[in-house]
C-alpha cells in the first residue's frame, strides 16, 4: 500500500526570478504588522491585490485571451508559497485566483468568462464561496437555497452563511438546489451571483477576534439571466466537489502560522534554551516535509491527474501543524499574552484563530472520512 505517490517535483527554472520579484514586491507594499502577517490569506488589501495583478502575478495559469499569463501550475505555486511565507495581505483576491477563476474558465460560458475573468486577473474583481448554509455545514448535500426557472430567468431564494469576504467580493459562486423536490446530491447547480444584484443582502458576522471576515448572505427573489448558470444544470455537486479539491490543495493549508515559527527562531537566536531549540528543529522538519508534500500535490495538479486524495491528506496534516505551532510556542516559552511584545502578540492572535484552521474548507473529521474512503474503508 502506498497511498501517497511521491514523484519528484520539477521546480520551474524561473523559480528564483519569480521569488525575487515577489519578495521585492512584498518588501515594498506588504503588511508591516506581524500580527496581521499571520493567517494572511484572510487579510484583504485590495490595493496590494491590484499591484499583484499589475505585476502579472494573478491568473498566472489562465489563457492570455482572458488576461491570464499562461504560466505553469508550478510557477503559480512558487508565487503563492512566497506570498504566504512572507505574510502578504492576499485575502481580497485569494478565492478568485485559487478557485473561482479556474472554475469559470473550465465551466463558464463566454459571457461569464468575459465579464469576470479579466478583472480577476487584474486583481480588481474578487469572489466568494457560497457553499455553507445555516443547516448545511459538513453535510453539504443538504443545501436548501433554491433556484426556480421563470421564463428566461432564474429566481434565487435562501441564505448562505460563513461567507468569507462577501463584503469585499464582486460575485459569489453558489451551490443551489435548482430542481424543486430533489434530494441530496441530485438537482443541484452552481450559479454566478453578482453581489450587487437586487435582492442580495450581506450581514456581517464578527468573529471571536473582533474581526469582520465572514458574513451571512441572503437572497430574496434575486433574478438572474439564464447565463448565470455555471456549467451544467443538475451537475452542481460534481462541480462543487472539483472546486473543493482546488480549495483544499494549496500551501495556505500549512503556512498560516509560518510567521510565528519565524518569530520563534528569532527568539531562539537570543535565548538558546534546549527545549526551544528542539522545538525549532521539530517544526522545521515538519515545514520541510509539508512543503514537499504540498508541492507534489501541485505537481500532480499540473500533470492533470486527480489529486483530491493527496490534497485532503496534506490539508489534514498541514492544518494540524499550523494549529499546533501556537500551542507549542505557548508551552515552550514563558510569556504574557496580553503584552504587546512581538512573540506574545503573534502567539495570542494565532491561539485565538487556530481552531478555525481545521474547520474552514472542510473539517478535520470530514477530511479523515474522505481519506478513510480512499483507503477502502467505509
Amino acid at each position: 500500500m502506498q497511498t501517497f505517490v511521491t514523484e519528484a517535483v520539477d521546480w520551474p527554472e524561473s523559480a528564483p526570478e519569480l521569488r525575487a520579484r515577489v519578495r521585492a514586491l512584498v518588501a515594498e507594499h506588504g503588511e508591516r504588522d506581524p500580527v496581521r502577517r499571520a493567517n494572511c490569506w484572510t487579510k484583504a488589501d485590495p490595493e496590494f491585490s491590484r499591484r499583484l495583478g499589475e505585476a502579472g502575478l494573478l491568473g498566472m495559469t489562465w489563457p492570455k485571451e482572458y488576461g491570464g499569463h499562461e504560466r505553469s501550475q508550478l510557477e503559480r505555486y512558487v508565487v503563492i508559497e512566497e506570498l504566504l511565507a512572507a505574510g502578504a495581505p492576499v485575502g481580497a483576491h485569494w478565492i478568485a485566483d485559487r478557485q473561482s477563476g479556474p472554475l469559470l474558465l473550465r465551466l463558464g460560458n463566454d459571457e461569464l468568462k468575459e465579464r469576470w475573468v479579466p478583472g480577476m486577473a487584474r486583481g480588481e474583481v474578487f469572489a466568494c464561496i457560497g457553499l455553507s448554509e445555516p443547516n448545511s455545514g459538513s453535510d453539504l448535500a443538504s443545501v436548501r437555497t433554491s433556484a426556480r426557472r421563470d421564463g428566461n430567468e432564474w429566481v434565487i431564494n435562501g441564505q448562505k452563511v460563513w461567507t468569507t469576504g462577501a463584503h469585499w467580493s464582486h460575485f459569489m459562486i453558489a451551490l443551489i438546489r435548482s430542481e424543486a423536490g430533489s434530494e441530496r446530491q441530485q438537482g443541484l447547480s452552481q450559479f454566478v451571483i453578482p453581489m450587487d444584484a437586487p435582492g442580495v443582502s450581506i450581514k456581517p458576522i464578527i468573529d471571536l477576534t473582533g474581526a469582520h471576515e465572514f458574513n451571512e448572505v441572503f437572497f430574496e427573489d434575486v433574478r438572474l439571466p439564464a447565463s448565470a448558470l455555471l456549467g451544467e444544470e443538475g451537475q452542481g455537486w460534481r462541480q462543487a466537489t472539483a472546486e473543493l479539491s482546488l480549495e483544499r490543495s494549496g500551501p495556505e493549508r500549512y503556512l498560516s502560522s509560518m510567521v510565528l515559527f519565524l518569530e520563534l527562531v528569532r527568539h531562539a537566536e537570543k535565548d538558546q534554551e534546549s527545549s526551544v531549540r528542539d522545538l525549532v528543529g521539530r517544526l522545521a522538519s515538519d515545514a520541510w516535509t509539508l512543503r514537499l508534500m504540498s508541492a507534489s500535490v501541485a505537481a500532480k495538479l499540473a500533470r492533470g491527474e486527480d489529486h483530491a486524495l493527496e490534497a485532503t491528506m496534506v490539508k489534514d496534516l498541514g492544518n494540524a501543524y499550523e494549529q499546533a505551532i501556537p500551542e507549542l510556542v505557548q508551552g515552550a516559552i514563558e510569556m504574557d499574552l496580553s503584552s504587546d511584545e512581538l512573540l506574545a502578540s503573534v502567539t495570542a492572535y494565532l491561539l485565538q484563530v487556530a481552531p478555525s484552521f481545521s474547520l474552514r474548507g472542510g473539517t478535520r473529521e470530514i477530511l479523515k472520512g474522505i481519506i478513510a474512503r480512499g483507503l477502502g474503508l467505509r
Partner: protein, 242 residues
C-alpha cells in the same frame, strides 16, 4: 519512475516478499545474484551504479517486507566507513526509507484486518473511530514516504545534511504514531508472537532510535536553523530545491 528503477523494484519486490523476515544467511546468494549489495557501487567498479532514488526504492521495499537479512546495512557500509559522519548520515537516510516502507506495510495490514474482523455485527472498518485513526495513520505514512523521497533527491543533488535531519526526524515521529495505531486497531491478536504485526512495529521501534533518535535530530536541526537565523529560513528552504 525510470525504466531501470521500475526493473529494480520489480526484481526486489517479489524476492524480498519471498525471503521476508525469516530469511537466513544462506539467502545472501539470492541477493548477490541480483547484485543488490552492490547497488551503489559504480558500474565501472562492477556494481549496479544506482542513484539515491534507486537506494530509496530498495530500502523502502526492504522495510515493506521486513527483510530479515541486513542488506540495507550492507549497502550503507558500501557507501561510507562505519564510524564516520557520512556513514551515520547515510544510515539515517536508509532508516527513513525503511520506516516509510514498514509503515505502508503495517497500514495495509491494519486496513485488511479491520475490513475482515467483525464486531457488533459489522466490520471494524465501518466504525468511524477506527476509520479516523487509520486516516491519521495514512497521513503519517505519507509524510514518511515524502520525507524519504525528499532526502533521496537532496542526496542526488549533493549536500543533504538539512534534508536527512528533517526527514529522519519526521519519519521517527511517524514510526511511533503508526505503530501505536496499528496495534490499537488490531486488538489482542496483534499482541501475539504468531501474528506478524510485531515484525513491523518492532522494527519501527528500533529504527526510530537507530542513526539518531528524535532528540538527536531535533537538536541538530534546531541548532542549524537558529544559527542561520529567522530571516534565512525560508530563502534557504526554497534555494535548496530551486
Amino acid at each position: 519512475m525510470s525504466d531501470t528503477r521500475r526493473m529494480l523494484a520489480e526484481m526486489a519486490d517479489p524476492l524480498f516478499a519471498e525471503l521476508g523476515f525469516a530469511s537466513t544467511d544462506s539467502d545472501w546468494s539470492r541477493l548477490d545474484e541480483l547484485g543488490l549489495p552492490l547497488l551503489l557501487v559504480p558500474e565501472a567498479d562492477g556494481g549496479f551504479g544506482g542513484d539515491h532514488v534507486d537506494a530509496l526504492t530498495v530500502f523502502r521495499l526492504a522495510g515493506f517486507h521486513a527483510l530479515g537479512l541486513p542488506l540495507v546495512d550492507r549497502i550503507v557500509a558500501s557507501r561510507a566507513e562505519e564510524g564516520t559522519e557520512a556513514h551515520f548520515h547515510f544510515g539515517a537516510f536508509a532508516r527513513t526509507a525503511q520506516i516509510a516502507g514498514a509503515l505502508d506495510a503495517a497500514l495495509a495490514m491494519s486496513v485488511a484486518y479491520v475490513n475482515e474482523r467483525q464486531q457488533f455485527g459489522r466490520p471494524l472498518g465501518k466504525f468511524q473511530a477506527v476509520q479516523q485513526e487509520l486516516a491519521t495513520f495514512a497521513c503519517e505514512a505519507a509524510a514518511a514516504n515524502c520525507a524519504a523521497m525528499g532526502a533521496a533527491e537532496a542526496l542526488d543533488r549533493g549536500d543533504a545534511g538539512f534534508e536527512i535531519a528533517a526527514a529522519k526526524l519526521r519519519a521517527n515521529r511517524a514510526a511511533s504514531e503508526g505503530a501505536r495505531i496499528a496495534h490499537q486497531v488490531h486488538g489482542a491478536i496483534g499482541f501475539t508472537q504468531e501474528y506478524p504485526l510485531h515484525q513491523f512495529t518492532g522494527r519501527l521501534r528500533q529504527w526510530r532510535s537507530d542513526f539518531g533518535g528524535d532528540a538527536y535530530w531535533s537538536k541538530e536541526l534546531g541548532e542549524s536553523v537558529i544559527e542561520r537565523g529567522a530571516d534565512a529560513f525560508w530563502p534557504d528552504l526554497t534555494a535548496r530545491t530551486d
